[in-house]
Structure formats: C-alpha cells, structure tokens
Amino acid sequence: MIKILFFGALRERLQQDSLNLPLTTSCSVEELQHKLCFHSPAFTESFTSANLLCAVNQKLTKKDQMIQSGDEVAFFPPVTGG
C-alpha cells in the first residue's frame, strides 16, 4: 500500500487530497503517473500534464525514482510560496 497526497490546484481539480493505492511490485514515479491516468477523467487530464512535481517520502524526486510499498508519494504543481 502507498499513500498518495495531492496539493494546491491539483488537489482542487481532483477534488480529493489523498488516495491509498495497493502496490504489489515496486514501480517508478512515471509508471505510477500512468496508472493514475486511468482513475477518472479528472485524473487523466491532470496526470498527463508535464508540469507536475513529485515528492517521495517528503523529498522532491525525478520521474525515474522507484516507489516501494509503505512510501508516501505526493504530487503537486510548481510551488509558489515566499
């Protein structure tokens, strides 16, 4: 099982802030994004966008980062704090 979090405009578009997903074998961030595309039309639109950032266990990562069961994965738009 992995926990997936959504923030900002993405959270609003998906109308949910998190999702638990069973994960039997390790996959990359990119592969996870592909999987999420099939979840709903809102997900399809959001996860085909190239502009999403991803954090695994609260660290910004690249798309080839591997995800293990138990990880906390977050997707969000480019940040705008400060």
């Binding site: 900002g8 954090a55 480019p78 400060g82």
Partner: protein
C-alpha cells in the same frame, strides 16, 4: 574531512503573525556577528487589482524539513552563525507579513548572500502554494520563470 559550521537554526510554519523585531533581537545577540540581514515578504496589493487575500496551502512536515535543509545548506555555504525562518500559511490579507528570513554572519557579503540564497530556494523548492482571492474570484498563483532563474544562479559549478 571538512569541519561543519555549527549555527543556531530556527524554522517555523504557522498561521499566526511573527515579530520581525524579536527575530532581529535574537540574531543580534549572537556572539561575534558583524552583520544581520532580514528579509520580510508581505502580501502585496496592486493599484489595478483589488486583492482581498492570499490563501497559503502547504505540505505539513515536508515544508518544515525543506526549510531546515535550506537553512543548513546556507550555514555551510556562507558561514552563517544563525538562521531564523518563519513562513505563515492560511488566509492573509494585503500588507500582512508572509515570510521572514533572518541571518547573522561575521561579514556582510555572507549575510546578504545567505538570506537571498534561502529566499531563492524557498520560492522554488518548498511545497507551499498561493491562491489569490480578489473581487473577480479565486486564482492559483502561477510559478514564475524569474524565480527559477534566480534559483539556478546558486547551482554549484
């Protein structure tokens, strides 16, 4: 083995306002410091646009860790003796304080560089998002390429 610079680092993410004065006073009390730089970001109203508020959302936990790592990296790169960062989240109205970064250093060029480095990282690497509320509705603030360019300046050659 390189010797690690040790420094007093304080990082807070909170809805409440902060006191720039208190942060300055704490930094000025650090021994052997010749230079204190503080940066404060405020909710900026625009003459053309009737901004009602900014709503700041963040990723609890990751935000604090990111800010702390940035402060630690700034300490090492610029020999800082102390760093304080407070970032507010929630609903902020025009002219309210959003963020303060305060640094104490032996020399002024390190203090300036350290504070600006932290702000450039914060603007592009820390999971905080702003939503603008104005008279015509709400709008998520877009990331600026100028902020990314500012950040890229600091990458090690």
């Amino acid at each position: 083995m390189t010797e690690k610079q040790s420094a007093a680092i304080t990082v807070k993410v909170q809805t409440e306002d902060f006191s720039q004065e208190l942060i300055y006073k704490q930094l000025a009390a650090i021994p052997y410091c010749g230079a204190i730089v503080t940066f404060v970001g405020l909710v900026r109203d625009h003459p053309e646009l009737e901004l009602k508020a900014l709503e700041l959302e963040h990723y609890p936990g990751m935000t604090e860790h990111c800010l702390y790592s940035i402060a630690e990296e700034a300490v090492q790169r610029f020999s800082l003796k102390a760093v304080q960062i407070v970032h507010r989240v929630g609903y902020l109205t025009p002219e309210q304080q959003i963020v303060v970064v305060g640094v104490a250093a032996g020399h002024r060029s390190d203090a300036f560089a350290g504070a600006e480095f932290i702000m450039d990282y914060l603007k592009t690497q820390v999971p905080i998002w702003k939503k603008q509320h104005d008279t015509s509705g709400t709008l998520w603030v877009e990331a600026k390429t100028s902020d990314q360019q500012q950040y890229n300046r600091w990458s090690k050659c």
